[in-house]
Symmetry: C2
Subunit: 208 residues, 2 copies
C-alpha cells in the first residue's frame, strides 16, 4: 500500500481530481468505470486508464474499478494517509481567505498557525487560529511542527519571508505571491499562479 | 503569428511559466537557451525543447531562442494579444483578494466588475471597481462585455450562481469554490483546486 511509485507531475494533479470525485461518488456506488470517471472529471477515458495503470490498477471489464481500493491507493500516493501541518504567512485578504477555506481540512491539511508582522493583527485569533508575530517563526514552526508554509505576503516582502521560512527549517512552501522565489534545493517550492489559471481559459476561448 | 496550434493542456501551463520568465529575463538579454529556460523554471531542458517545438520554434545551437520572438508567439497562442474582461462574483475575503491581486492586470486580464448579494457591499467601490447587485448580472455582463466570471462565493450558493452566469451568457468560468459545478458544454469551466496544490507538495515530500 505504501509502495513508492514515480508518477509524472501532470498525473499527480489528476489524481487529486479523481480523489475528489470518489468522495462524491462513493455515497451511491462501489465501483466506477474509466468512462464514468471520465464523465465526472471531463478527462478522456484513455487518459484515465493510463493514469490508473501507473500504480498497477486495471479495471475489470463490465465491473470497473473498486472505488474504495482506488481511494486508498491514491490517498497513500499523495501522502494523504496522515495529516500535514501548515502555517499561513501573511494574513491579508488572501491569507484570511485561505484560513477560512473549507477545502483544506477535508483533505488532511491542518492550518495550525498564522503569522504576520502587523501589530494590530498579532495575538488575535481567526477561525480559532492564533496569529503570531512573524519574528517568532522559527519557534512557532518547531512548536507546531509546521511542514508547509503557505505564503500570502506582499510581493516586495516575499523573498525576505521565504528566507525566514528556510531558516526556520520548514521543508515546503506553497507560494501565492506572483514573484519568483529563490530557495535552496532541499526546500520544496510550488507556485500557485492565479493569472496562469486564467490563461488556460483564454487559450481555450481563443481556439474556438 | 495567429496560426492556431493545438497544444496539450499541460504544455499550456508551462507556456504561462515561460512567459513570466521572459518578462524578467528580457531586461538583460535578447536570447535564451533551453538550458537557461530550464534553470529559470525548474522544468528540464528536454521538456522545454519539446514544448517550444510545438509551435515550430527551434533554438539555434550556441545562440538559443529569440526571447522577443518566443514572447510574441506564446502571447498569441495564449490569447493574450488582447485584453479579457473579467468579473469577480462574491466579494468575501477571497473575492477581495482577487480584486486586489496585482498579477492579473500585468497579464491582460481586466477585472471590470464585481458582484455580490450583500446589500452592505452593493454600490461600494473597491480598488476603483464598483460592486453590483448579483441580480443585475446579465445587464452588467452585457454592459461591461464580461467574458470570464471568477467565482468566489460560498459553496452552498455556487451552483445557483453558476446557473446565473450561464444565463447571462458569460462564456467562461474560473471557479475557486471547492464544489463540482455542472454547466452546459458551450461554457468553459476551469476549477482552481487550492487543496490540490497542497497535494502536489505532499506527494513530493512523501517521495523523499
Amino acid at each position: 500500500m505504501t509502495r513508492k511509485v514515480k508518477i509524472p507531475v501532470s498525473t499527480v494533479g489528476r489524481l487529486s481530481i479523481y480523489l475528489r470525485v470518489f468522495s462524491q461518488v462513493a455515497k451511491t456506488q462501489g465501483t466506477i468505470s474509466s468512462k464514468g470517471l471520465a464523465e465526472w472529471t471531463g478527462i478522456n477515458s484513455a487518459q484515465v486508464r493510463k493514469d490508473l495503470a501507473y500504480f498497477g490498477q486495471f479495471g475489470r471489464r463490465g465491473v470497473g474499478y473498486s472505488i474504495q481500493d482506488l481511494k486508498a491507493q491514491i490517498t497513500s500516493i499523495l501522502g494523504l494517509d496522515r495529516e500535514w501541518n501548515a502555517a499561513i504567512i501573511g494574513v491579508g485578504h488572501l491569507g484570511t481567505a485561505l484560513l477560512m477555506y473549507r477545502g483544506f481540512g477535508s483533505r488532511r491539511f491542518k492550518v495550525t498557525a498564522a503569522l504576520d508582522t502587523d501589530p494590530d493583527k498579532i495575538s488575535w485569533e481567526l477561525e480559532g487560529i492564533r496569529i503570531h508575530d512573524l519574528a517568532d517563526l522559527a519557534a512557532v514552526a518547531r512548536e507546531k511542527r509546521i511542514e508547509i508554509a503557505i505564503l500570502s505576503v506582499p510581493a516586495e516582502a516575499a523573498q525576505e519571508v521565504a528566507n525566514q521560512v528556510v531558516a526556520a527549517q520548514i521543508p515546503a512552501i506553497l507560494n501565492f505571491v506572483p514573484v519568483r522565489l529563490v530557495v535552496p534545493k532541499h526546500v520544496l517550492l510550488r507556485d500557485v499562479d492565479l493569472a496562469g489559471e486564467l490563461e488556460a481559459l483564454t487559450y481555450a476561448m481563443r481556439k474556438r
